[in-house]
Every structure is written in C-alpha cells, then in structure tokens.
C-alpha cells in the first residue's frame, strides 16, 4: 500500500529563470502512478517550462526532481556548482519519460513506421525486427497502421500528433508529458488526439498534460492545476476545481477568456 502511494514523480521547489524573468517559481508537485495531472493557465505562466524541465530540455537552477523516489538529473561538482548529470544518464532518464510536443516534431525524412521505430532501434539498440514489431503495435494502438509507409508530410495534423504519441510510447515510458498536444490542430482534428490520450489514460498511463483545452481538465483529469506567473495558484479534482475554485478571480477571468 505504501509503495503504491509513493509518487512516481516528485518535484520540489523547481525554479527556472530566463534572464530576469522568473518562469517557474519554486513549484512542488507529486504525481502518483496512473495519475493524470492537467495543468492549465495563461500563456507565459511557466507551465510548458515546468514540463520541459522534467525532461531536462530546460535546465533548472533550483529544486530537485525525484523519479521513483530517486533524485535525478543534477549533480553538484566539487566546487559546489550544480549542473546537469552526464549526457548518457540524462539520455537514459529521458527514455523513461515520453514527451509529445505542440508542433509534433516528427522526423520528416523517415516514414511513419521509421519515426516510431527510431527510439527502440537507435536508443534501445533493439534489432530491426523487434523495433518494427513494437512500432507496429504502437501504430495499431493509435489507429494508424495503414499509414505506416507514408512520410509525415502527407498526414493531417491529428494523424501527425498520433504518430508522435506512438513514437513516444514505443520507448515504453513510465510517464508521458504532453505539451499543449492539441494547440496546433484544427478544431475538427482535436477529437482524434483527445480520444487517443484518453485511451492511454484508461490503460493506466501516468500523464502530465499542459493544455488550453478544457476538455482534458473536465473529462480525463484526476487533478487540475491552475498555474500563473510561475506558481500554482489552485488545484483540485475536476469536480472540486470547476465547482469551487471558480470563485478565484484570476481563474474565472482566464476561463471566461478561453471558453
């Protein structure tokens, strides 16, 4: 029981500056296995930066990141200077944490299957046959088996994002990070990506989703967090959040603006 309650990911006092701007200001967050955390908030509130720092795409100045109870990613040198851990360790950590980007970032020179195979093949050094097997499974999961031999340029935005999800899943990550996964999509294409992510949640995948799409918060979140100016302003279950936290002036004005 105790192990089940141990957070998969635990962030403590995460702080990140861009020059004089404080993007993330001492954020604490525990994410339990199987939990779906949805972070909302206005642009520039630091939610993407927070998400990216979990994957070390941003280097944080203060705070610790614990993954499965282990402090990860940063070491302190003899001179007391804190810096990112050795590149091969960072790579190993990243391969356990999947990430999906707003702009998909598919590899345009590889076919759909090639994109999904790439992680198992190059990073995990699996045999081409094995990597192909995994990739086909993942493509089936996102419903794009028939598109395996085409290049990403021919896909719709929704299809591209589903391939990107399959690519991340092919590494068998323990945690998935979604950085505004539907923001670059036409409204009619949001549904397919939304459904894919929801199915993933039903399978028990632990996820942190940064989004402007209230559907994520309302329909699949275990916890909704409102972030503004680098800090968490309010959080709660969707029911609690949309019923009670709406009293919060800033949340109310934010929701009014986007709804």
């Amino acid at each position: 029981m105790k192990t089940a309650n141990q957070p998969l990911l635990s962030l403590k006092g995460i702080t990140k500056h861009f020059g004089s701007l404080t993007a993330v200001n001492g954020v604490d967050l525990d994410v339990c296995p199987g939990e779906i955390v949805v972070i909302i908030g206005p642009s520039g509130s630091g939610k993407s930066t927070l998400l990216r720092s979990v994957n070390f795409l941003e280097e944080i100045e203060e705070g610790t990141i614990l993954f499965e109870g282990q402090e990860i990613g940063y070491v302190t040198s003899k001179h007391g200077r804190r810096h990112l851990d050795a590149p091969h360790k960072i790579c190993a950590l990243r391969s356990e944490i999947g990430m999906v980007f707003q702009h998909f970032n598919l590899f345009p020179h590889m076919t759909v299957l090639g994109n999904v195979m790439e992680g198992p093949l190059t990073v995990q050094k699996k045999s081409p046959e094995e990597a192909r097997e995994i990739a086909l499974d993942m493509l089936a999961k996102v419903g794009l088996s028939d598109k395996r031999d085409v290049y990403p340029a021919t896909l719709s935005g929704g299809q591209k994002q589903r391939v990107a999800i399959a690519r991340a899943l092919a590494m068998r990550p323990k945690l998935m990070l979604f950085d505004e996964p539907t923001s670059a999509l036409d409204p009619e294409l949001i549904g397919e990506v939304f459904d894919t992510i929801r199915d993933l949640g039903k399978e028990g995948m632990t996820m942190i989703i940064v989004t402007h799409q209230m559907g994520f918060a309302k329909e699949m979140a275990d916890r909704v967090i409102f972030m503004e100016k680098g800090s968490f302003v309010a959080q709660g279950t969707p029911e609690d959040f949309f019923a009670n936290q709406m009293e919060h002036d800033r949340i109310k004005s934010f929701l009014n603006r986007i709804l």
Binding site: R94, G119, T122, V123
Partner: protein, 339 residues
C-alpha cells in the same frame, strides 16, 4: 720557245675566259639585282601583279649559282598566295621543284598551299585530333583531382561545421580560425604557399599532394560554412524530439539532423563543386599537368587557338555532367517532401 709560247697562250686563254665569266656573272647578277629591287618597289607600292611580272623575267640558268631563279619563283609563289591564286602559287613552286625536287622551301610551301585549299572545318578537325590525346590526358588528371576533392571536402566540411557549432570554445574557435584563414586568402596563394613556400620550412610535397592539400583545405572551409548553415537551418524542435526519445547529441545529429540537411545542401554544394572543376585549373601553376596546363602547352607549341577552344569544350562537358548529376541527387534527397 714554242712550248713556252703555247703555255703562255694556254694561260692567257684561261685567264681571259675567267675574266669573261666573271664579268658576265657580274653583269647578269647586276641585272637580276635590278629586277629584284624593281619588284620590291612594285610591292612597296602595293602593285603585286606588277612585281610578279618583273620577277618572271628572271630565267633559269644552268646551276643557278646565284639562286636568283629559286628566289624569284618562291617570291612569285608567296605573292600569288597573298593574292589567293593558289593554282599560280603552286605552279611557281612546282617550277622550283622541277629543277630541285627536294628544295625544302618549295616543299613546305606546297604543303601550306594544300592546307590552305582544305575547307576550314577539316583543318579544325585535324587540329582537334592532333591536340585531343594530350588534352584528354590532362582532363583525366583534372577529373582525378575533382573526384578526390569531392570525396574529401564534404567530410572535412562536416567536421568543421560540427566543430563550429560545438559549445566547447577551443574547438569552435579553432574551426572559426580555419574558415577565416582559408576563405580569406586566394586559393592561388594557398597553393603557392604549400608548394613553393613550405619547402623553405623543410616540408616538401609532390605536386599532386600539394594540389590535393590546397584544394582540400580550401573547399573544406567553404563546405564547412555551408554545412553549418544547413544544420542550423533544421528547426530546433527536431533536436528536442530526438532528445526526448532518449537520443544522445551525436545520435540525434547522425540520425535526425544531418540527413535532413541533404536536400538543402545539394544546391550550394553542387555550386561549389562546379566552381571546383574550374578552380583545378589553378594547380597548373604548381607543376601539375591537368587540362588547363595541357591546353596551354599545345597553344604555346603550335600557337593554335583550337587547343584553347577544345579545353573550354571539355570543361563545359564536365560542368554540364555535374549539373545534371546534382539535379538528380537533389531530387532523390528530397523525395520525402514530394510524396
């Protein structure tokens, strides 16, 4: 006495005839000199037919000791040649050959008359056939150089490009310096320095090695900047996505970033390689016998412009073939964008 008288008589006859012969020869020679000088006057006035008429008065005499006959007929031949009357010209030369069948001046003249009577294209083709073997030998060397540099310089350029974007300052600084140096000085000077300058520091190269070294370093510097531009033109998200699935920097470069630069790099690199084909002409200055040098040698030996025209045609052929090949490669490299 009789004997004595007879001897005197014999001697005096001999002496007399000698004097007579001498006088006659002076007399005749003087006559011909007058003719030649008259002919010269006529030529000076531009009246070539008149000059020919005068020269025709010189007649053949046994032996033609004075050479006046040959001189006059060859002069007539040249004048007729200048007047474009080839039949009359060769007739005059044949008069000489009738008397002296192996007079080299007349033989040469007949050859050039024949050459002149040939159509221009035939002359051109004959020149081509004469120069082509030597030029092709040079062209083989040019192609050898080009192929070597095409194999070497992209690798050198890639190393320099990766060095330039390295976050490790000494490496990026060194690569910056390399590019600064080799892009900032003339290739000709670099070749001179390597071939003529380095021996004074105790480093000696064969011409071929010096040529490969000079062209290789120069083109690596240029390609380095082109490839760096190509790498940096790939959007940042590609590197992030590669890192997000756990790739190292070098894995991401090798598998994701660099393959995407191929299509973008083909046009500028193709351009550089076409410039390279022509730049190989510069190594003719460091004792390399390639196409330009061969053409130059032919031109100097025969003073015949056909050698230069042929060399230009061979260069054009090479650049055309390369343009064609690079267009094909470019289309293949970007195939994923068209499907």
């Amino acid at each position: 006495m009789k004997f004595f008288n007879g001897r005197i008589a014999k001697r005096s006859i001999l002496l007399f005839s000698c004097v007579l012969l001498f006088a006659a020869s002076i007399c005749f020679a003087k006559d011909y000199d007058q003719l030649f000088s008259d002919a010269n006057d006529a030529m000076a006035q531009g009246d070539l037919p008149a000059a020919i008429k005068i020269l025709k008065k010189v007649e053949f005499e046994k032996g033609d000791e004075s050479g006046a006959f040959v001189r006059s007929r060859m002069q007539i031949a040249r004048l007729q040649f200048a007047l474009k009357d080839m039949d009359a010209a060769s007739a005059a030369a044949k008069e000489v050959l009738a008397v002296y069948p192996d007079n080299s001046e007349a033989l040469n003249f007949m050859a050039s008359v024949q050459q002149e009577q040939k159509p221009r294209y035939k002359v051109f083709i004959e020149d081509c056939l004469r120069f082509l073997p030597q030029l092709l030998k040079g062209a083989v060397m040019t192609i050898t150089l080009v192929v070597c540099i095409i194999l070497i310089s992209p690798l050198g350029g890639l190393l320099i490009a990766l060095g330039r974007i390295s976050t490790f300052k000494p490496v990026s600084g060194l690569c910056w310096f390399f590019i600064w140096l080799f892009r900032g000085t003339p290739l000709l000077l670099q070749l001179f320095f390597i071939y003529y300058g380095l021996p004074s520091l105790g480093i000696t190269f064969k011409p071929f090695t010096a040529a490969i070294l000079g062209l290789g370093l120069n083109y690596s510097a240029y390609l380095g900047e082109i490839i760096r531009g190509g790498i940096q033109s790939i959007e940042h998200g590609q590197m992030e996505a590669a890192k997000a699935i756990g790739m190292s920097y070098w894995q991401a470069m090798r598998r994701v970033i660099i393959p995407q630069t191929y299509k973008r790099l083909m046009p500028p690199i193709g351009n550089e390689f076409i410039a390279l084909i022509k730049d190989t002409a510069l190594v003719s200055t460091i004792a390399m016998v390639e196409l330009m040098r061969s053409a130059d040698q032919m031109f100097n030996a025969y003073f015949n412009v056909t050698a230069l025209i042929l060399a230009a045609l061979i260069y054009l052929l090479f650049t055309t073939i390369f343009t064609f090949i690079f267009e094909k490669i470019e289309i293949r490299a970007g195939i994923y964008e068209n499907r």
